[in-house]
Amino acid sequence: MGAFQWLMKKITKVFGRSTNALFYTLLYREILKEVNEITNNEEESLIILREIGKRSAYESCERHSSIFKFMPGNPKKVLDYFEILWVVVFGRELEDYTYEEIPKEESKYNDYILKIKNCPICAGYGQDKEDSFDFNKVKDDKSEGLACGLCGMLESVANFILKTKRNDYRIQIVEQKCIARGGECLQFICKIHDYKEWKELISSRTEERISTGIYFEESLEEEEIVQETKLDIIDKLQDVISIDKLEEYLDEPLESIKERVSDIIRDKLNMEPEHFFDYFRNYEDDMIRIIGYLGTHILNEYGGFLEKLLKNEWFAKVFGYLFKQLKEMTLLFIPLDVIRDYNNLLVSFLDNLAPPEMVENVKLFTGKDTVNFLFEGAQIALENFGIDFSELKENVWEELKVERENGLISSDISTIDKTREKVPQIISIIQEFLMIINDILTLPIRILISESHYGLKTAINSVVSEEEGLYGSIRERFDNIFDQIQEIRK
């Protein structure tokens, strides 16, 4: 799984509002039963449940549309990211599945069949008295199964991404096999349609829905096709920093990255890189501050996550505290050689990209200067996001959570107690971040050594393998951080 697939999954999982999965499944069942009470027809109920799933996911997508702007805009790639769709929709990992491509002649895209061994929606269906929706009454072989609502959700999210990316193709996802209906697994077929085919499909679906006699609102599908989303800075940047492309960047060595940066400057700013960097000649320190400042703001471009996070006073304090520690630690504990390596990396990056005079000026900076400039820029950005550095003080306290003997959770928990309960998780998060920083700080040496031979990715994975190397180590630490955040949010 790619780094960004993993990151997206983690983010959507941690920041969604979760409940126990059994509650989710039983609520889903009850919705179907209520629909069936309206229709009195099992086959029609499944059609309506799919529509409910579709509309509910569309509503969520519209609320958080910015997160989808970094997703790939090609139907095939959207399907490659099915695991993310599953996590976005269902909030849990997609495990034990197979993926098969079915060649489709005279069509730009093939069909895909996805077989999922374990279906959480069907889990244990039929074992309890309340599982009263009777699948034996579903006679039509073309009817979907219990996961039809989930199917509607998946289809809606996939097509929302395509719409956001202004792609004319749409994806149809249909449940072909259902465990609750006796199938050996949950099986979806995913078909990619062009505009004309899709229009025909949605009009036949609308007719099918109308034939049920169940009153629904206006058709969602028509809106999907004609609606335009507004263009913003993220749209303009999409071509450059789409998630799938970032994976490609990691495969390229430093020289190729420089070439790409040059191309971006030429394409987007219509000027030669040398002219661009010439603007900063004799203001090299400000340029480095701007890198720190912009770097922090770019982090925030991912759905405004950083800004939203720092609106919370408690998180702002923790983050500010962490930043302060990082700033001090970097200069206190990191060997100057390592800091110098970073400086050399910057010089190597600017060489042949910026005017020679500027490169010479940057060479005059000590590693310590560069680090300080970067932190100064980042600090200004963090102040913009709401961290008041003047109010920060040191708080290091830990208290283990005490379990009660009867297993019940006390109802008399004060706000202070609630905060204290979160302290172990917060401390763990800080520790993990510090460990990540240590891991990352070894990177420039590896990059400089391996640049001419293997490129950036080799450097990142230079220990043993992708899982055991630096990338694996950082990923593991972020896994821990996400777990702790999830605990705090509970």
Binding site: T12, K13, G16, R17, S18, T19, N20, A21, L22, F23, Y24, T25, L26, L27, E30, I31, K33, E34, V35, E37, I38, I48, I52, G53, R55, S56, A57, S60, V87, V88, V89, F90, G91, R92, K117, N118, P120, C122, A123, G124, Q127, D128, K129, E130, D131, G149, I179, I214, Y215, F216, E217, N406, G407, L408, I409, S410, S411, D412, K418, K490
Partner: protein, 170 residues
């Protein structure tokens, strides 16, 4: 072999889409002539409790001494919600306040029902089922009373109120 319901208890699922689905369902109910959608939502909660208790229950006895802790535990384990509770012994009412109700978040102009009506049904049924199995004469039974405030009504938190009875009093 598919997941079992017992296994599902060990994991969490994201509610965002399902929360929306509840409101789409209530809209569907109202557009199709169902006037008592509140009762339907409560019944959904009761049915969920009837199944859920086959796989997990917080305790075997619910009395006035532990009712607050039992309800807090159910909210936390089932809904991942941290709630605050007040008992009004005079009115025989339990008031539960939830600032992050999993079933209510947004206010809809065309809907005048809160998703947490489902929780009124769920919690009261859960407690009543435990008490039904218990031989303790001071066991508590709970009945849904009303959703007093809800984020779905534009309030800052959801406040669910239950009526309770001790033993066989009636």
């Amino acid at each position: 072999m598919n997941f079992s319901r017992k296994e599902l208890i060990e994991t969490d699922a994201t509610m965002n889409q399902m929360r929306n689905a509840i409101y789409i369902l209530t809209r569907l109910m109202e557009k199709n002539g169902i006037s008592d959608s509140k009762d339907h939502l409560r019944r959904m909660g009761q049915n969920i409790a009837k199944t859920y208790i086959n796989y997990w229950q917080p305790t075997n006895i619910v009395t006035i001494n532990n009712i607050k802790d039992v309800i807090t535990t159910i909210y936390q384990k089932v809904m991942n919600s941290v709630v605050s509770l007040e008992i009004n012994e005079l009115e025989r009412e339990i008031r539960v306040q939830d600032y992050k109700c999993a079933l209510c978040k947004y206010q809809y102009a065309d809907i005048e029902i809160a998703g947490c009506e489902i929780l009124l049904g769920l919690i009261s049924e859960f407690i009543s089922l435990i008490s039904k199995e218990s031989s303790d004469p001071s066991s508590i039974t709970l009945e849904p009373y009303k959703v007093n405030e809800s984020r779905a009504y534009g309030n800052k938190s959801c406040i669910q109120i239950f009526k309770y009875k001790i033993g066989k009093e009636g």
